[in-house]
Every structure is written in C-alpha cells, then in structure tokens.
C-alpha cells in the first residue's frame, strides 16, 4: 500500500546514496521541492537518468555534488540557455556522462515496463552515441527478413523515480494527465516517490474521466503533500514557470560561487525559513 508521509524530508530519506534515480523532463511534473530536500539531506553518488532530458533539477543535483553519473539525451535550461553546473562538471571531469538519445531512454524504460531484457530501436546507427555505448548492441535483423541492422537497447530499471503531481487520493492513485512518460517511469522503477499539491478523499478511479489520467497507487511507494512543489518550474494549469527566477538561476549558477549562494538562499536558508 502507498504510504502517505508527513514531510518532504521523510520522502527524501527514501532515496539511498548511490541509487539510480530517474527524473522527469522539465515540462513534466518535476518535484523541485523534493530535489531541494535531497540536496539538503546531502545525497551522494546518485546515478541520474533524465527521462529523457534533464533541466534545473539535474543541474542543481550535479552542482550540489550529489551526482556521480548522469545518463541523458540532453541537459539544458531551455530558453534560459545551457545547464551551467552540468556543463562545468562534465568539462572538469567531475561527473560521468552516458550520452543517449530521447527515444532510447523511453525504449529502455519500456523494456523494463514490459519485463523484457531489451527492445529494438530504429535509427541511431552511425551516431557516435552508439560507438560509446558498449551496453547497446547493433545486430543484423534477428528475424532474418532483410530488415537490415538494428540497435538493441537493454532495459533500465531505476531504483527510484520521483515526480510531483497536482493531485493524489488516499489510495495513492496519482494524477498524471497526458504525461504518460510518468506511467512508464513508474512501471519501470523499483520505488516511486511522489509529491503532490494536495491529497483528496475521493478516489481518482471512481470515474472514468479521472481514471484516464491516473497512475494507480499500485506503483506508488510513498507520497507527501508539497504545495507549489514544482516551483520555480511550472505545473500545467496550476502555475506558470517563474521565468525571472529561472533566469536568475541560469545567471548565478554560471559560477561555482554564484551557485553556492543560490543554494544557500533557496535550498538551505530559504526552506528552513519556509518550514518555520
């Protein structure tokens, strides 16, 4: 059964050091408050999988020294520009990057979702990504029907995945709407931790209208309320991204010193104040 926890810190405590942690993309229910809690708890040696693109969450975790390795199709702040802590850490060799491409990340999770050791994916061949990935395998058409070469992508099973949603119910069912990559992440991960704007009493499975956008509690290990928990990113139909704050991060995080000041203000002091 899904546990409903009292605090973000309780939730953050469920992400062990060294875990393979899956993060949703910037536009999709990103649990920023939980990311800040993870940084506060001093998480270490995380292996991050961005599904498929990382943003501010990945950049902050990397900058805060929580990350050993990142597998990604890209890490970017989007309109704001490059992800500065990611770029710096890669250039200085402080984080290992495993380059991927968007559909390969989806495919690797779909393989785990389906309980198979791999799935094939078209394209890719001739990309240096394939050359660097000795876990991927290029094979001749295994059906022997003249379909040519194809890449087999091994399954990836995240130890933990984290998302922020507008709404859950007391049975642990969580609204994901049309962000169905979150369903695949949930199906594939060993543990799913969820923060939500609010928990309602009525079951999301009580009507077909809400069931259509619900992830069953079956896949939800624990959840906690975190109002405004995606800020400064947006949450569709709930709040817009705080563009000024994002630009401010993009600017300050260009230097190690600026990033430290940003963390101090928004992760440590900021949250301690908010918690009082």
């Amino acid at each position: 059964m899904t546990e409903i926890l009292g605090s973000l810190d309780d939730l953050a405590a469920r992400v062990p050091d060294g875990a393979l942690l899956a993060l949703p993309p910037e536009y999709s229910f990103v649990p920023m408050a939980l990311i800040r809690a993870l940084i506060r708890r001093g998480a270490k040696d995380l292996h991050i999988l961005t599904v498929p693109i990382g943003g501010m969450a990945a950049d902050m975790l990397i900058g805060a020294g929580c990350v050993k390795r990142v597998e990604c199709a890209a890490v970017t702040l989007g309109e704001v520009g490059l992800a500065p802590r990611f770029s710096a850490a890669v250039e200085q060799g402080r984080v290992e990057v495993i380059d991927s491409t968007c559909p390969a990340v989806h495919t690797a999770l779909q393989a785990t979702e389906k309980g198979v050791p791999f799935m094939p994916l078209g394209g890719l061949i001739g990309s240096d990504i394939v050359k660097q990935r000795n876990d991927w395998k290029v094979v001749d058409d295994p059906l022997g029907r003249g379909n040519g070469k194809i890449v087999l992508i091994p399954a990836i099973q995240p130890d933990v995945a984290v998302i922020h949603s507008p709404l859950a119910d007391r049975d642990g069912n969580v609204w994901i709407g049309r962000r169905r990559e979150l369903a695949t992440i949930a199906h594939a991960a060993r543990t799913l931790l969820v923060t939500v704007e609010r928990v309602q009493n009525e079951s999301l499975l009580a009507s077909e209208a809400t069931a259509a956008g619900a992830l069953p509690g079956l896949y939800v290990s624990a959840l906690a309320e975190a109002p405004m928990g995606a800020k400064p990113l947006g949450l569709v139909e709930h709040y817009e991204p705080d563009h000024d704050e994002l630009a401010c991060y993009g600017r300050e995080a260009r230097s190690e010193q600026g990033f430290r000041a940003y963390l101090e203000r928004t992760v440590f002091a900021g949250t301690r104040a908010a918690a009082e």
């Binding site: 989007g78 491409t101 394209g123 049309r178």
Partner: protein
C-alpha cells in the same frame, strides 16, 4: 541581413523556411523545443494552406496534439506520420553530420553542450529534415564534427526513410543530396555573396554557375506573421513573438 529592408532577420528566416516546408506531400510538420523560427514557419504554412499540414509544437498548448507522453513524437515519426522536422547543430559538416554534444575530444570535451536530444532517431525517420542554424561561420560548419550526434548518411543495410534535405543559415539556403553525399548552394540571402558563403564554410559545397537570391518575405506573409500567425506563435514563444514580431501574447 535586412539592413534597411522592411522586415527583420527573423521574419526573413521564417518565410525562407516556410517555402521549404510547403510541398504538397507534407501533411504533418513537427517542431521540437526552443525552435521559434521553424515553429513560426510551420504555423505560417498552415495558415496559408487553410489548415494543412498539421503542425505539432511539442511544447505548445493548443498546438501540442500529443497525449501519449514524451515518446509519442518519436513513435509518431517512426510510424511515418511526421513529414518535416528541424534539427540544428553546434557543429555541422559537409556530410551533414550534426554534433549537439560538445567540442573537443569526446568524452573529454572542451565545451559541453546539452546533448543529442532525439536527433539520432528523428534524422533517420523523418523524410524532410531541415537543418536550421543561423550562425554561418567556420566554427559551426566544420570539415568534420567532433562528435556525430546523428549522421547525415547511412549504409544501405540501415533502414533510413528520412534524412537531411535542406540547410538554412543567415547567409544561404543549401540542399543536401544523399546520393552524392554533399550540400549544394541553392540561394543566397539578399545583400550577401557566394564568396561569403564559401569563406565561412569549412567544407566543400557544390556551387552552381548561377545562384539565385533567396526571396524576400512576401508582403501577405509578413502581414500574417505580424497578426494572426504571430498570436499563435506568442502562445508558445511569448518572448520571441514580442521581440521579433512585435506581437503580444
């Protein structure tokens, strides 16, 4: 590039890209994140043609038709349902290889960029990929990319229904011929020269004896960009619409 012309650089690029999109076989144009000029060009074509092709801006609201999560645009393209897509590159070489990862000796890069996104897949499956990279310098157009995010050419035993068809820069429009494996100069931006193109390109290109000028934006299209199409763009790219087209969200 516009000088004293009555249109902006952005408007020029939008109408240039629009002309490359609008062939009769095009039913569906998809546009990735952070691509306001290609997005605007696609919306302009849709308006001109009365609703066809479909235009999917993956981070748009009204213009984002996808409901199967982040993988749908890739599945959709793999099904052959996306006819036009856009890619860029930190570096692009003469075989139309693109690099979105970084410069230097991978994995020890000198400068790290975001990553390959979906390019290593979309480049293979979308029939008309338009490379869009305004900056036309030898820093971008290199003899050989440092990292191949996605290759321009494939061996015959690799299924590849798609690939690069055009390259649009601030200086020119080129086409790419997969059979001959090289770019061909199609037209040059008004006020710029073939020599400038050659001097700023780090690889060989085919240059015909006579090279046309890229057409200036058609007045009717400019008017649409500054009104109804501009408002659609502002829905997805408010900053761009405000700064480049003078249209408020």
């Amino acid at each position: 590039m516009s000088g004293d012309a009555d249109y902006s650089d952005a408007e020029f690029l939008i109408t240039t890209v629009a002309r490359l999109i609008e062939t009769p076989d095009v039913r569906h144009v998809a546009v990735g994140a952070a691509s306001p000029i290609p997005g605007a060009a696609a919306l302009l074509v849709r308006k001109l043609k009365g609703g066809t092709p479909r235009v999917s801006l993956i981070h748009g609201k009204a213009t984002n038709p996808f409901t199967d999560g982040g993988r749908e645009i890739f599945d959709c393209a793999g099904q052959g349902r996306v006819d036009v897509f856009f890619l860029g590159g930190v570096q692009i070489d003469g075989e139309a290889n693109i690099n979105l990862v970084g410069t230097g000796d991978y994995p020890k890069v000198d400068k790290r960029f975001p990553g390959s996104f979906g390019s290593a897949y979309m480049y293979f499956v979308v029939p008309k990929v338009i490379l869009f990279r305004p900056e036309h310098t030898r820093r971008v157009f290199v003899p050989k990319v440092d990292f191949v995010s996605a290759p321009g050419l494939s061996a015959p035993d690799v299924r590849r229904p798609g690939g690069p068809k055009y390259l649009v820069t601030e200086l020119c429009v080129m086409s790419f011929d997969a059979g001959r494996g090289r770019f061909r100069l199609e037209s040059v931006t008004p006020g710029r020269t073939v020599e400038e193109v050659r001097d700023n390109t780090g690889f060989e290109i085919e240059i015909p004896d006579r090279v046309a000028k890229t057409l200036a934006p058609e007045p009717e299209r400019l008017a649409l960009l500054r009104s109804s199409v501009g408002r659609e763009i502002a829905d997805v790219y408010p900053g761009f619409a405000r700064d480049m087209l003078g249209v408020a969200a």
